[in-house]
């Protein structure tokens, strides 16, 4: 990695990877996020769950400014998200994101998908970018697909490419928005394996998912959202064995019935 000595991280000292203080967001008149407070420690793994429409996606999309919050503070890796484009760029260079529908670039090969940001955003020489991309494609176990187009891969393979693509700019924080919910059951496992491995390496992770097995093995904390609020948060063990809130109980009974 091109470690620029001048590129000092204002973040080094700060204790938290992500800080959200009294965050509010509206879509038009609709109040999606209501007075959210959340501190994510460095290296912490957080799983966010909750019923559809509760604001889970909106919450994590605010962290890399795909959505703009209207009130409160969001501080990512020591950088406060404001309208300042420099701050937004800084945050986006620290935060990787994996989407439900992969959002790979269909007109570029797998390798080109991975090298696009390093070459154009980080101004890395192509050869170096390709070398790094191959390392990450190896990590997600599909180096042999590097020269294919996304349309030629299975859903599970595409999602692993998407993970490799966001890892290529060496983020310190990874956001996952239902990364396995568009996949067939037999492909969910291969994606979760990659994510578990990533968690083992100390990456800070915020993951919206209903894969409770993943939450139990990987998460340090599970957050339950409903109606734009954080209803309950706890360690996975406590959360699943001893839910406090009625709505949490109802939700858990529904998804556990289902799976």
């Amino acid at each position: 990695m091109s470690e620029d000595p001048n590129d000092s991280h204002p973040s080094e000292g700060s204790e938290y990877a992500v800080v959200m203080r009294n965050v509010h967001k509206w879509f038009g008149p609709f109040h999606v996020l209501k007075d959210l407070n959340l501190n994510v420690a460095r290296g912490e793994k957080i799983v966010i769950c909750g019923p559809s429409g509760s604001g889970k996606s909106t919450l994590i999309r605010c962290i890399n400014r795909l959505e703009e919050h209207q009130e409160g503070d969001i501080i990512v890796d020591g950088t406060e998200l404001t309208n300042d484009l420099k701050h937004i760029d800084q945050v986006r260079s620290e935060v990787g994101m994996v989407f439900q529908h992969f959002n790979l670039f269909p007109h570029l090969t797998v390798l080109e998908n991975c090298t696009l940001a390093p070459i154009w955003v980080k101004k890395m020489p192509r050869a170096e970018a390709e070398e790094i991309a191959m390392q990450y494609l190896e990590r997600v176990k599909i180096p042999e697909q590097a020269h294919k187009y996304p349309g030629q891969l299975s859903g599970g393979q595409q999602q692993r490419v998407a993970i490799a693509r966001s890892l290529c700019k060496r983020p310190r924080i990874m956001l996952f928005d239902e990364p396995t919910s568009a996949l067939d059951p037999e492909m969910i496992k291969e994606v979760l394996e990659v994510m578990v491995e990533l968690a083992g390496e100390g990456m800070t992770m915020l993951c919206v998912t209903h894969e409770m097995g993943f939450a139990k093995t990987v998460a340090d904390r599970v957050i339950f959202m409903d109606g734009g609020e954080i209803i309950e948060q706890n360690s996975p063990q406590e959360f699943f064995d001893n839910p406090q809130h009625e709505r949490t109980k109802l939700f858990l009974s529904q998804i556990l019935d289902h799976t």
Binding site: P106, A117, Y149
Partner: protein, 369 residues
């Protein structure tokens, strides 16, 4: 009869029977598959038989290729009088460009073909250098055709014929695509002023016939511009034709842009790309690809619309043809003139259309599976 046991694994791939692949099968499937189809086929064959031989006779076998004037032609043969076209060929090609300077037009044409290669053919070695040349081509061609800097200056009112068509067509095509892209992006901008300007521009231009714009170019602008501004008529026409095509281009490209899922821009933003980067590297390559048929359609429309300049007194091939018909030596030879001009336009437009099909097919096999 005792049933023969089915032998698993003993079925090699056999060629299909001739009845489904041979030429007879093709005929049966495509020409004689139903009673209606049979009738259609027979009628078509009869029509072709009635039309093609007389046309060939008129155009080639019964045509005169040399002769002093119309009567000389008629004395030789009853068909077309190509001697007329042959005599006027230079006029059709160069308009009134001075004879001793015509090598510059020829050179510009050769350079144009060379400039097209890197644009049209993406597997060219060192394509990037080639593209720089292609981008510089308009300047080089402008210098060659207009003169100055060591070349004898030629006034644009001496331009005419096919050369004029190419000048207007190529300029329009080369500039309407980038302007159209900017307008299409502007129409989606989050800044209301930019959006308003682009929508207003597009809707205004689309709401007005090209002829009107050309009249504005030839007369009205003189009123608006400060007295004494020398603003070449051809330049004004070029601007109007380009703007006209740009507005249509913008709408074609907007259609393509709308077909790109929002997730593409979000993914580009999430990996840190700026607006222009995400447009150039992610969105536009996909949007332009699906817009190819519409883009080429607009190009072809623009190219044929160049004939409208006849109305404001510029002599494109059609204009040259009409004025040639006024020559008493050659009266009445409309068919020859219009067929000749039609063939020129058909060859140009048909090549564009074929190229667009080739490009679509190529991009399809490259990306989609």
């Amino acid at each position: 009869m005792a049933p023969v046991p089915y032998k698993v694994g003993e079925h090699p791939d056999l060629p299909p029977p001739v009845s489904v692949t041979g030429p007879l099968a093709w005929l049966r499937n495509n020409l004689f598959s139903s009673p209606t189809n049979i009738v259609m086929t027979l009628v078509s064959v009869w029509l072709l038989y009635e039309l093609i031989p007389p046309m060939l006779d008129w155009m080639f076998f019964d045509a005169a290729f040399s002769g002093e004037n119309r009567d000389a032609c008629r004395a030789q043969a009853g068909g077309a009088c190509w001697a007329f076209i042959a005599e006027r060929f230079r006029l059709f090609t160069y308009g009134f460009y001075p004879a001793e300077e015509r090598w510059r037009v020829n050179l510009a044409f050769v350079l144009l073909l060379a400039a097209l290669v890197p644009v049209l053919y993406d597997r060219l070695p060192a394509r990037k250098i080639g593209l720089y040349y292609s981008m510089a081509f308009p300047l080089i061609a402008g210098w060659l055709l207009l003169g100055g800097w060591g070349l004898a200056p030629v006034d644009t009112d001496q331009f005419g014929g096919f050369m004029l068509t190419l000048v207007i067509g190529v300029t329009g095509i080369a500039f309407s695509l980038p302007i159209g892209i900017l307008l299409a992006l502007g129409r989606q901008s989050s800044l209301p002023i930019i959006r308003l300007f682009c929508v207003g521009f597009i809707e205004f231009i689309r709401g007005v016939p090209l002829i009107t714009l050309l009249f504005v170019a030839s007369t009205m602008l003189n009123y608006f511009l400060p007295k004494g501004t020398v603003f070449d008529l051809l330049l004004r026409v070029l601007i109007m034709v380009t703007l006209f095509a740009s507005a249509y281009m913008a709408e074609v490209i907007r259609g393509g842009l709308q077909a790109i899922p929002k997730g593409q821009v979000e993914a580009a933003e999430a990996i840190g790309m700026k607006y222009w980067q995400s447009m150039r590297l992610v969105v536009l390559p996909q949007a332009l690809k699906i817009s190819i048929p519409g883009i080429v359609n607009t190009f072809i429309g623009l190219y044929k619309d160049t004939t409208l300049v006849i109305i404001i007194g510029l002599l494109d091939p059609l204009g040259i043809g009409r004025s040639s018909l006024a020559d008493t030596k050659w009266t009445g030879l409309h068919n020859e003139v219009y067929l000749f001009v039609a063939i020129f336009f058909f060859i140009s437009c048909f090549s564009m259309s074929r190229y667009s099909l080739y490009l679509e097919k190529k991009l399809k096999t490259e990306h989609d599976h």
